[in-house]
Symmetry: C2
Subunit: 226 residues, 2 copies
DNA sequence: GTATGTGAAACCGTTCACAGCA
DNA sequence: TGCTGTGAACGGTTTCACATAC
């Protein structure tokens, strides 16, 4: 047994590779080199080889990777070979969009429950999922085997929601609220915060003259009068 | 003139600092040390000081940072002291949610236009914004001064949409489609891809027994039988 | 010849540790 | 004394370059 450290960003890249391999497969491409795949994914060829090497040897030297062999391997690594069961909290604009979107995805996840604080939303069916009151969470999470909680509530309620989800027994949380959640360490949390990303775009678009430094390249060079 | 390199991830952290400084200000806190702010934001104190140091000297040695001085400085750096004008393409589930959400945000951005391919969606008003046909994009982007295009269309159409937006004259793109966009280098692109993030969660939740390696810690240690 | 797999080097970002200053 | 600002050390990721295998 040998220890290998895998950067978590490499996992995100595997998702990208999987998606593009899927497209290539649909186009009938049978073999792909790290160089060609790198072009498509917008990364360095060596990076692809390194990322794959963390998990095994999937290629053939002098040839490349067989798409129909590599794709299932990556799927398995990422855990895409099962259907994950999600529970939504917060059936507002974003929450509803997520439910409706997932309805038409024949993929590796489904929403099997949805919850909301507001009485007027309870009882509705969105994207094929019934909206239940928060009080039902513990029971329904167990009954429906919810593995991952998706938080789409207002920032103020995000921490309370996370606590409820953890108590109900979810193993992971996907958090859309712009808040740093405090969770037990065995719970895996992923945050998606698009205000933050939008602000990064604003920064990059802000004319340097209005600041005390000047942006030079998209990678973040700056000329500072020091 | 001296060159300073600023990691783009530091910009994202500035957003987090700004948010929490705002909360502190509302609570009436006047002075904050990097140590206390670091606790709140979940980062290292030295990191905060470094991030701020990229842009100037905002603190007082032996004291800390005056909240009411620091906050506007960060706002200015991030370009939050103006209202950015966004245009949406794709008024489906996600797009509609974005429009409706933005309607109630009294912040640094507004949607001033929305577009869709589907005739049945055209003419609708969502979140106070009229949905127009793609053909009107070039005209409306100019007329309404759209600076940033938000792509919320199906992956298949994302690249075409990006091309249209660039041709219409936007300066930045926020892309929600799970596709690597090909854009001229002067256009700033931010991608938000939650399938990717979800898959990272799946990976972390996948029992190691089912793979040929074993995850050891949340930071990504792995035991590989090599 | 060609493309993978992988040590070594380069690069980048984070953290430390302390000088500088209120 | 206390906390910022910052050069230096550290750790982790990316890229290079080449041995290896088809």
């Amino acid at each position: 047994m040998k220890f290998v450290k895998i950067p978590s960003i490499a996992i995100a890249r595997l998702s990208v590779y999987a998606r593009n391999l899927d497209l290539l497969d649909q186009k009938g491409v049978e073999v792909i080199s790290s160089g060609r795949l790198a072009d498509i994914c917008g990364v360095n060829p060596a990076q692809i080889r390194k990322d794959l090497a963390y998990f095994g040897q999937f290629g053939v030297r002098g040839v490349g990777y067989y798409v129909q062999e590599l794709l299932p391997e990556i799927r398995k690594i990422l855990g895409l070979d099962k259907e994950w069961r999600l529970g939504l909290v917060g059936a507002g604009n974003l929450g509803s969009a997520l439910l409706r979107h997932a309805e038409f995805i024949h993929g590796s996840y489904t929403f099997v429950a949805a919850f909301d604080r507001k009485p007027k939303r309870i009882g509705a069916t969105i994207g094929g999922v019934d909206v239940s009151p928060l009080e039902a969470m513990s029971r329904l999470v167990k009954k429906n085997g919810v593995e991952i909680g998706v938080i789409a509530v207002k920032p103020t309620w995000a921490q309370d929601t996370a606590d409820l989800l953890v108590k109900a027994g979810v193993k992971g949380i996907m958090n859309f609220a712009p808040v740093h959640l405090q969770c037990p360490s065995q719970i895996f949390v992923e945050n998606i915060d698009f205000g933050l990303r939008l602000e990064r775009l604003f920064y990059r678009l802000t004319p340097p003259q209005s600041k005390r430094h000047r942006v030079h390249m998209k990678s973040g060079w700056v000329i500072a009068p020091k």
